[in-house]
C-alpha cells in the first residue's frame, strides 16, 4: 500500500476505542467471580488484598474514582483480569507512593489489564515480568506534571514474557520509554498513543514484534528498536514497524544520563540499533527534526563476546516522508545539514558492514550513509555520502499472531 503524505491530520490509525460499559459486560467470562474494589479510604490494603486473594478466572473490578496508593501493587495469580470503569474514571494514583519500583507489578500468566489509568508512579508505572500471555488494553499511563527527568522510567513495561499484546493504550511523560517491551518474544503493540516521553515506543532485546497503527508524537524519539549487551536475552530480530504515525517528535531529551535513551537525538522518528531483520513500511513521518529513520550500531564500549553491535537486514518501503532533518540534534548534525542543502536526509545509516549488512530502502527519499566501518567510530571520522540502498525492500516477515484467547479478551 502506497500512502501519500497528507500531514498529521490524516490519521492512518484506527481511532482509539474507549470501550463502552455494555461491551465490557459482554467480555466478562460467565464463570468468573467479580471482586469489586471501590476507591476511597484504605484503598491500598483493600485493593492489594483483592489482588492477592483473587483466584484464576476472577475479575478484580475497580470502581469509579481515584485510588490514592502509598505502595506498589502486585498481582501474582494467573488468569486474573483487572478491569476499571475506564481510563479516565478508575485512576490508580501513586503521587503519594512511599516504596516499590513500580506502580503495579504483574508476575503471573494470562492476565488482562484494561480500562483504568495509572498516574504519577515514582518508578515504572505497570511492569509485567515473566508474565506470559499478557494483555494491556485501553489503559492510560500518565505523569501529570509533563515531561520531567524525575518521572518514572517506563509507562507500560512487559519484560521476559512470551506473547505480549498492547492495544489502545495512551502513555504520557515517561522519562525513558512510554511503551517498553524488553527481552520478550511474540509481541504486538498497536492502536496506541505515546507522547511526551523520551522514547514513545521501544522494543529492546526482543524477538518477533509487530508495532503498528500507533501514534508517536511529541516524544524525543518516536519508535526505537534496540538491542543491548550483557543481558540474558539479546540478539533482537524480526520486528515490523508499519502503519504508524510518527510525527513531530520534538521534546528535548529528558532521560537521566547513563540510560541508553539519553543518547537518542531529539527529533528522531524511528531508530533501529543493533538488531537484524527489521521492516519499516507504510508509516507516515513528518516534523522530526533530526531524521525519520536512523539505522545505527551500538556505539558504546562493551565487554560481551556474544553481542553483535551492528544492524543487518533492514527493509524500508512505502513510507511517507514529510519535512525532516531541519534541526539535527546529534554530533556533526549541523555540518551535515549544511552539506546536504540545509537539512539532513530523512534516512540515515551508519554504513557499518557495507553492502553485506543488507540495509535496503525503496522509499523515494535521499539516504545518508555515514560511511563508518565500526559502530563505535567517532562521528568526526565518518565519511558521509548520499547512498542508494538498492535491493528487494518488500516486507516478508510473517505477521505476529496472538493466542486466540488474548484477542478474545478485548473483543
Amino acid at each position: 500500500m502506497k500512502r501519500k503524505f497528507a500531514g498529521p491530520m490524516s490519521l492512518p490509525v484506527r481511532s482509539l476505542s474507549f470501550v463502552s460499559l455494555a461491551a465490557l459486560a459482554l467480555a466478562t467470562p460467565l464463570a468468573a467471580k467479580d471482586i469489586v474494589v471501590a476507591s476511597g479510604a484504605g484503598a491500598q490494603e483493600r485493593l492489594q488484598e483483592a489482588l492477592i486473594m483473587a483466584q484464576p478466572g476472577d475479575v478484580v473490578l475497580l470502581g469509579d474514582g481515584r485510588f490514592e496508593l502509598t505502595d506498589g501493587l502486585s498481582l501474582d495469580v494467573a488468569g486474573v483480569t483487572v478491569k476499571g470503569a475506564g481510563p479516565d474514571r478508575s485512576v490508580l494514583s501513586f503521587a503519594g507512593q512511599l516504596a516499590a519500583g513500580e506502580g503495579l507489578l504483574v508476575t503471573s500468566d494470562n492476565v488482562v489489564l484494561r480500562d483504568f489509568a495509572v498516574e504519577d508512579s515514582k518508578g515504572d508505572a505497570i511492569k509485567s515480568k515473566g508474565a506470559d500471555n499478557i494483555v494491556y488494553h485501553n489503559i492510560r499511563v500518565e505523569w501529570t506534571g509533563g515531561p520531567k527527568e524525575t518521572n518514572g522510567a517506563y509507562g507500560i513495561y512487559p519484560v521476559e514474557s512470551q506473547n505480549v499484546l498492547i492495544d489502545s493504550v495512551l502513555v504520557i511523560g515517561a522519562s525513558d520509554a512510554g511503551i517498553y517491551v524488553g527481552q520478550s518474544r511474540n509481541i504486538i503493540v498497536r492502536d496506541s498513543i505515546a507522547r511526551f516521553n523520551v522514547a514513545g515506543i521501544e522494543i529492546e532485546n526482543c524477538f518477533n514484534a509487530d508495532v503498528h497503527d500507533n501514534v508517536a508524537t511529541r516524544n524525543t524519539g518516536g519508535i526505537l528498536v534496540f538491542d543491548l549487551p550483557n543481558l540474558p536475552q539479546q540478539g533482537g530480530h524480526n520486528v515490523r514497524v508499519f502503519d504508524n504515525l510518527v510525527v513531530v517528535n520534538d521534546t528535548p531529551n529528558f532521560a537521566p544520563k547513563g540510560n541508553i535513551v539519553a543518547s537518542v537525538p531529539t527529533g528522531t522518528g524511528v531508530m533501529v540499533m543493533a538488531n537484524r531483520d527489521i521492516e519499516i513500511f507504510d508509516n507516515v513521518f513528518e516534523g522530526n527534526g533530526s531524521s525519520n529513520i536512523m539505522v545505527i550500531g551500538y556505539r558504546q564500549t562493551f565487554d560481551d563476546p556474544q553481542y553483535q553491535p551492528m544492524v543487518r537486514n533492514v527493509r524500508i518501503s512505502d513510507n511517507a516522508h514529510g519535512k525532516t532533518g531541519f534541526a539535527p540534534q546529534f554530533a556533526g548534525g549541523e555540518m551535515l545539514a549544511a552539506a546536504f542543502g540545509g537539512s539532513v536526509p530523512p534516512i540515515i545509516w551508519d554504513g557499518v558492514g557495507g553492502a553485506g549488512a543488507s540495509i535496503v530502502s525503496s522509499d523515494d527519499v535521499p539516504v545518508l550513509n555515514l560511511g563508518m566501518t565500526r559502530a563505535d567510530q567517532p562521528i568526526e571520522t565518518a565519511q558521509p555520502s548520499l547512498a542508494q540502498l538498492t535491493g528487494d525492500a518488500a516486507p516478508r516477515l510473517p505477521k505476529i499472531v496472538m493466542p486466540a484467547a488474548m484477542e478474545a479478551a478485548i473483543r
Binding site: 491500598q44 490494603e45 483493600r46 492489594q48 488484598e49 489482588l51 492477592i52 486473594m53 502509598t70 505502595d71 506498589g72 502486585s74 498481582l75 501474582d76 507512593q97 512511599l98 516504596a99 516499590a100 519500583g101 507489578l105 508476575t107 508512579s121 515514582k122 518508578g123 515504572d124 515480568k129 515473566g130 527527568e149 524525575t150 518521572n151 518514572g152 522510567a153 517506563y154 513495561y157 519484560v159 521476559e160 522519562s175 525513558d176 517498553y180 524488553g182 527481552q183 543491548l228 550483557n230 543481558l231 540474558p232 537521566p256 544520563k257 547513563g258 540510560n259 541508553i260 558504546q300 564500549t301 565487554d303 560481551d304
Partner: protein
C-alpha cells in the same frame, strides 16, 4: 555482635529453664494444610505474650551477614518436624522437608526490651513454600495475618544515636515472594549454611535434625562488619549477596537487569556491575554510566541507589525506608579499592 547474641541466647535459655510448663507442640497440620491461618498463635510457635517464649521444638539461628531492614532487630527460628531431616547440600544451601517452617520476627530493642512488630513465616508445604506476614497486636497477645501488608509509624534509634520516625512497611504476601522468588517459586534465602550463625547448642540441635554432605561445609562466612572474618572484598560481596542477590540473580526478580550478585556470578565482571551500564534504571542511574565505576563510588549507580530512600531510585526496592549508612560505607570502601581499567 555475635558474642552479645550468644550471651543473649544463654540468658534466654536460663529464662526458659525457669519457665513453668513447656509449651504445647507445634501444630504441624496448620503448617502443611492449605489455607492461610489468620493468627500466628494457630501454629503454636510461641507461648505467652510476644515471642519471648519460643516453642522448644524451634531452633534459633542468626545470620553472619544479615539483610538490612531499617535497623530492625530480627529473631529467627527454624522448625523441622520430628522424624524429618533437613539436608545441607554440597553447595551449602539448606533444604527443608515438608512440614518445616522458618519464623522470622522483626522488632526493635534488644534482649528483654525486644518489642516485636511483625513475624513472617515461610511454611514448607507439599506444594512448595508459602510466605505469610503477621502483625503483632498492641498487647502482644497475638499477631494477625496481613496478606496485603501494612504501614506502621515506628521510632527508630540508629547506631549513631540519631532518632528517626519512619513509616515501617510490613510487606504484603506478593512482596514476600518478590524477594523470595526463584524461577517464580518461593524459596528461603537465609539458610545458606556458611552464612548461618549458630551457638554450640543450636548447631548441635540442628545437626541432630539435618544431614550433611560428605564435603565439609562450615558456617564461617564473612561477617560484613568484622574485618577479622574476611577481606574487604569478601565482606562486601557477602553484604551484596545477602542484601541484593535474592533478586539480582539469573532466576530472581531482577533477572532482566543482567546485574547478578549471587556467588556463582562472581567471576563475571560485568554481571557483578563493574563497568556495567544500566538497562532499565531510569532516574535510578543518578546520571552515572556504570553500576560500579571501579575506584569511584561517587560515580557508581550502586552507591547512588543504596544511598537513596526515594521509590524508583532506592535499592532494594522493598523493605527499606532508611539508608544503611554502615552498609553504604562498606560498599564505598570496596568500590574505592577496585582498580580502574
Amino acid at each position: 555482635m555475635i558474642a552479645l547474641r550468644a550471651i543473649g541466647a544463654v540468658a534466654a535459655a536460663a529464662a526458659l529453664l525457669g519457665a513453668q510448663p513447656l509449651p504445647d507442640p507445634v501444630n504441624d497440620s496448620v503448617i502443611v494444610d492449605p489455607g492461610l491461618p489468620r493468627q500466628l498463635s494457630q501454629f503454636g510457635f510461641f507461648a505467652g505474650k510476644g515471642v519471648s517464649t519460643p516453642n522448644r521444638a524451634l531452633i534459633r539461628y542468626a545470620l553472619r551477614t544479615p539483610l538490612f531492614s531499617d535497623y530492625a532487630d530480627k529473631q529467627r527460628f527454624m522448625y523441622i518436624p520430628a522424624g524429618s531431616r533437613a539436608q545441607v547440600k554440597e553447595n551449602a544451601d539448606v533444604e527443608f522437608p515438608v512440614g518445616s517452617a522458618l519464623i522470622k520476627t522483626f522488632g526493635y530493642g534488644s534482649g528483654a526490651d525486644f518489642r516485636p512488630i511483625e513475624t513472617r513465616v515461610l511454611l514448607r508445604r507439599a506444594s512448595g513454600w508459602e510466605a505469610l506476614p503477621y502483625v503483632w497486636n498492641a498487647d502482644l497477645t497475638d499477631a494477625d495475618l496481613k496478606v496485603a501488608g501494612t504501614r506502621l509509624p515506628i521510632a527508630v534509634t540508629k547506631p549513631s544515636g540519631d532518632k528517626v520516625q519512619i513509616s515501617y512497611a510490613v510487606p504484603n504476601k506478593n512482596q514476600c515472594k518478590e524477594c523470595h522468588a526463584n524461577n517464580g517459586r518461593v524459596t528461603p534465602i537465609g539458610p545458606y549454611f556458611p552464612n548461618m550463625d549458630l551457638t554450640f547448642g543450636e548447631l548441635r540441635r540442628f545437626r541432630s535434625q539435618a544431614n550433611f554432605p560428605k564435603v565439609p561445609v562450615v558456617n564461617n562466612g564473612p561477617v560484613w562488619n568484622d574485618p577479622a572474618t574476611g577481606s574487604l572484598d569478601a565482606r562486601a560481596r557477602a553484604y551484596l549477596m545477602t542484601n541484593c542477590a535474592h533478586c539480582h540473580n539469573p532466576a530472581g526478580s531482577a533477572s532482566n537487569s543482567g546485574l547478578f550478585l549471587n556467588a556463582d556470578a562472581a567471576s563475571d565482571r560485568v554481571a557483578t556491575g563493574i563497568y556495567k551500564r544500566p538497562v532499565a534504571a531510569g532516574r535510578g542511574s543518578g546520571g552515572h554510566d556504570f553500576a560500579i565505576a571501579p575506584g569511584d563510588p561517587d560515580r557508581s549507580i550502586m552507591v547512588h541507589r543504596m544511598s537513596s530512600t526515594e521509590p524508583g531510585v532506592a535499592m532494594p526496592e522493598v523493605g527499606r525506608s532508611m539508608v544503611h549508612d554502615e552498609g553504604v560505607a562498606l560498599i564505598r570502601e570496596w568500590i574505592s579499592s577496585l582498580s580502574q581499567d
